[in-house]
Subunit: 356 residues, 4 copies
């Protein structure tokens, strides 16, 4: 090491690095390894009214069928322009299916779910099992399960899709296969076969005793979610521990064969706040997406307050602080990349004492 | 080694062994290490009418309270005379609580459950949570949970207790502690707090995300068990895989935090056979106890057929072959030491091709 | 319940219980469920000189071969008379093989190990892999592995066998199968094939990446055990954490595919105390057997001090307090039923503050 | 849906999508979800002579110290221009430390290792434990362990660093903290304390019985790796299963507390091919980096053959086929993102029958 570096030699060195597919660490350390997570993704809110209106217009203009596969419109994080991603690891879209339309079957490595904030009438057929989609339901399509959707009514329906497309694309792990042009079972039962086998609390069929990487339960129905949250708040009223903090009930959707997350890359939860509740402020490692299911209030994201109401979606990038404030009783659905963070040992949460 | 052993010397050697707290393997190998499991326990059937009548008489003659703790009458395996054990690892008793009686609180390392074949009106209070006991319910008291029972009615009630008392006594692992003379919460709600928190299919409270060694769900209600079995048979009728074999539906009770057995030493299941169904014959490692919940039929135990009907109990020692035959629709509860066998690597099942 | 029980009626009731294979809990609760573990097994010490001398006499008088299978003499716990058991769950024997003798091959569900306190010259052949036995070595024969032993020298050799025979007999889980009359590979290599594949620290063969229920490593050599303990004491001298308590180094033998116990029912450890060290007094759930490998000192068992020296064995029943005191540097081998206790959730340890 | 879409309306719709931070799936499905992994990263070879020469020039021109932290020059995948990444998930650099230089201490969430292809004389100090670096050694710095390096000699030294920097940056999980300006322990022992505690095959210190997310063993020494591979080939010669395929020995570096990968995001292996061996062609999900440690031969990457020899590095992106051909005996080090792929359920391998 010379005391005074020779600028010309250094310049030549850097040029030779580049010519040989090399780059120095020392000039870019801060960007590569920031002191705390420094996401390119930004916190952002999308309004349901806007999303729904644009989806309707797409319904009028764009057919659904083999090739494009789905009339799904992805939420693009303003900090990740040019991508189709709401967060580095997560994809989130509004999907719209017109009266009597069918989205053909396919399967892929990517894990997927649907969450229904309004409407009904579509059946998603997962590995041949027709699954009704209704308001408040959380519906799974784990990786490599064939699936298509068909609208059995004369009304359109829209819902939210969540997938790990960005993660799969980034890590180069995805396979895709086309299936039937139509759904393989056009029946429209109220309850799927997967629920008939699996949606009994604390019971599992003895024909299926091995653990599974993803939940075998295709539908988590609103009536159960609502009941669980109602009970938590009632127990709190009666003086028993049940909620995550005062006035804040929450459930995690889980794989009944393990008690863990529903799919290996995606965590899903449902939160209910009493009117007037303000949650503690949290910094969490990992990216989250929320949708208001019912009610109105506000979210403080990185110190900036935004009002939200039924159907609105917002994204919380890694380590951006968030807290929720409920004007009315406030119900929210949340999904995130928690299983990735946890399984790889990167989990960390910080709750400032002063609530900031 | 001498060609012709000296009998006197050998006799002296064996005497010296005994005097020094020793014993040779070679004279007792077959008994210590048989070619296949050779249980001392025998297959046996107890009649519910007999059990219930004797329990009633005990109700007239024997008080319940601190010291004796429970009016429980244990089923003694005829092959294990002098013990109180239905199988080497398992304890099973009929417990009887008269009108307005209370069985005081205590806790112990031993894992316990109750199963109700008839009646109602008793609440078991587990760590302060009153749990109603009704026909068809399976109720947990995992190790080291305080528990007492009180009869809130003017009618007596009887049920089945299952514990790992023999295993705990044998391995010398048990601790015991007395608690309140009366139950610590005399309320009689229809639903326990544990159910309100945990009995929602595929959902868990976010205030409780760690796995637990035993299920946090204190009651597995008959309505869910019945529904699960009804659906399995309906799915079979519709041509879908759901049952363990033709005409034979079955569920395992599980810990929702893991998807595994409800307690670390005891497995519990419920089986339903269509009228006319005969199960395959099975040899299984481990000891099982069955109770007919409803219906009539027969069980073939080690080749010997015995008729059974509502309330009858029978024990199947390790490796004794068994099959069930249903005359009417036949519902049966089963518990066994499966978690011990599985966790320690001894599991083995044999299903003869010829059904013998 | 009557205020004054009718003695005759009660007597008749108890007789009717017995006639119907029943027994009341309330008369025997204390025995079945003691406040703390109340083992029938007693703490006891066996002298190596006695064991070895009797084994030699057996060598002169009793042949080894098919049928008796092994010239093994079991240590019988004085509290378990009539059994062949050193503890309710554990079997321990001295095995003796004369010059050029062969113990024929067999396999069984029971898990077994050997530990060598003196001598060498025997090869145990495990699933066809000849494993030399030398002083200080710990050697595995996990369940259902074929194994035989042959003495390749003109000197007899004796060692300690440990098995879960009592546990397997008690739970009725054992199968047994005879194999070759002689060992299937009579070679006498210094190092087994299992060691050549597996005894490389932190490395595993990519041809074997699945976890295994028992360790694939057939021999844990003295040189490694000794080095590990030497380093722990040296690190302690240098001021770094390494020992379990001051002056007390210890290693656990583990399954390299999991980092856990070597076999599903048996834990094994090696302890080294500096001269003058006295360990804290411990009460532990589960049964342990110790053998002094080298040195002299004493063990306090349930408050009673016994001197021990090279080769002596002692058993510590569940919850009986123990502490060790080293007059000279003291090396001890230990095995116990820890994996049974841990996997079934019964683990508990108590270390009195006052050392009592 | 209209039969003939109105082009102007469609154009307006897409503009409105963009204005509202939305994007359609149907126009980009193939790119987002290809039929098989379609990595942007390209297979590529870097020559050791080039790397080393440029690192030496950096040693002359660029100081090492607080701020830049390390004189590390990253290999940039030609398919990922503008990044510092050898693969989407992995970072790989040559690090160079001049005589008597010190790279200051810091810690970060990112998991790191070093592999030494030549030279010695540097100690990496990991959480205060000085770890000598010598040829053939594989050295760990798991996430959030403080570490610095110092060269204790008058010779420069260069080695390879591998980290999950890209994955951590992409998922926004990384924290970073500066430590001491110099290493906290300047001693230069031949063996680290972590090895003295942990590098004993099949043994673990009883002071450390909990599983750990990353290996507690800081150094995997060449002598052990070499011995393990030598034995595998010898066993193959003797007719025993040991290698992954004929002529191809391989070990995986593992965490002795679990038997699994050394760190939660990075897998590491060492491969040895006999002269003349050609491996089967494999397609694997996930990104791998190889370095030739000794010998010469060629690698066929996606059908294109490239010759490689001592020190050369190459990257194999996801699903790009690879096979190795050894001219001389050929030793290779490999690391990849296997734990990410496996833990998240995306693992898949394809070995064409025809070797293509």
């Amino acid at each position: 090491m010379t005391a005074e570096p020779d600028e010309a030699a250094l310049k030549q060195l850097y040029a030779d690095f580049e010519a040989n597919d090399l780059t120095p660490l020392w000039t870019q350390l801060n960007d590569l390894m920031p002191l705390v997570p420094a996401p390119s993704a930004k916190a952002h809110v999308w309004r349901w009214s806007t999303l729904h209106r644009l989806a309707e217009r797409a319904g009028d203009l764009v057919p659904v069928g083999r090739g494009g596969e789905r009339r799904a419109i992805a939420l693009v994080n303003p900090g990740l322009p040019g991508t189709a991603y709401i967060a580095p690891t997560l994809w989130c879209a509004i999907q719209y299916l017109g009266p009597r339309e069918t989205a053909p079957e396919h399967r892929h490595s990517q894990n997927a779910f649907r969450f229904v904030v309004e409407g009904e009438g579509v059946w998603t057929v997962v590995n041949g099992d027709p699954v009704a989609m209704r308001r408040g339901d959380f519906l799974l399509t784990p990786g490599w399960h064939f699936h298509g959707h068909h609208n059995d009514t004369d009304q359109p329906m829209a819902w939210i899709d969540g997938l790990d497309i960005p993660f799969s694309r980034y890590t180069d792990v995805g396979f895709f296969e086309f299936g039937s042009e139509r759904v393989t079972d056009e029946a429209s039962p109220a309850v799927s076969r997967s629920e008939r086998l699996w949606a009994h609390p604390g019971l599992r069929p003895m024909s299926e005793l091995d653990p599974r990487i993803s939940s075998p339960l295709a539908a988590y129905r609103w009536e159960h979610t609502d009941a669980a949250l109602t009970e938590q708040l009632a127990l709190e009223d009666e003086g028993h521990p049940a909620t995550v903090e005062q006035g804040h009930a929450a459930i995690r959707y889980v794989n009944p064969t393990t008690g863990g997350d529903v799919m290996p890359t995606i965590r899903a939860e449902f939160h209910r706040l009493r009117a007037g509740t303000r949650t503690r402020t949290r910094h969490e490692v990992g990216s989250s997406v929320w949708q208001v299911f019912e009610g109105s209030g506000s979210v403080v994201l990185g110190g900036e307050e935004r009002s939200v109401s039924t159907g609105d979606l917002f994204v919380v990038p890694s380590w951006v602080s968030w807290s929720l404030q409920a004007e009315t009783p406030l119900d929210l659905f949340r999904f995130n990349d928690g299983p990735i963070i946890d399984r790889l040992g990167f989990s960390r949460t910080f709750i400032p004492e002063d609530g900031s």
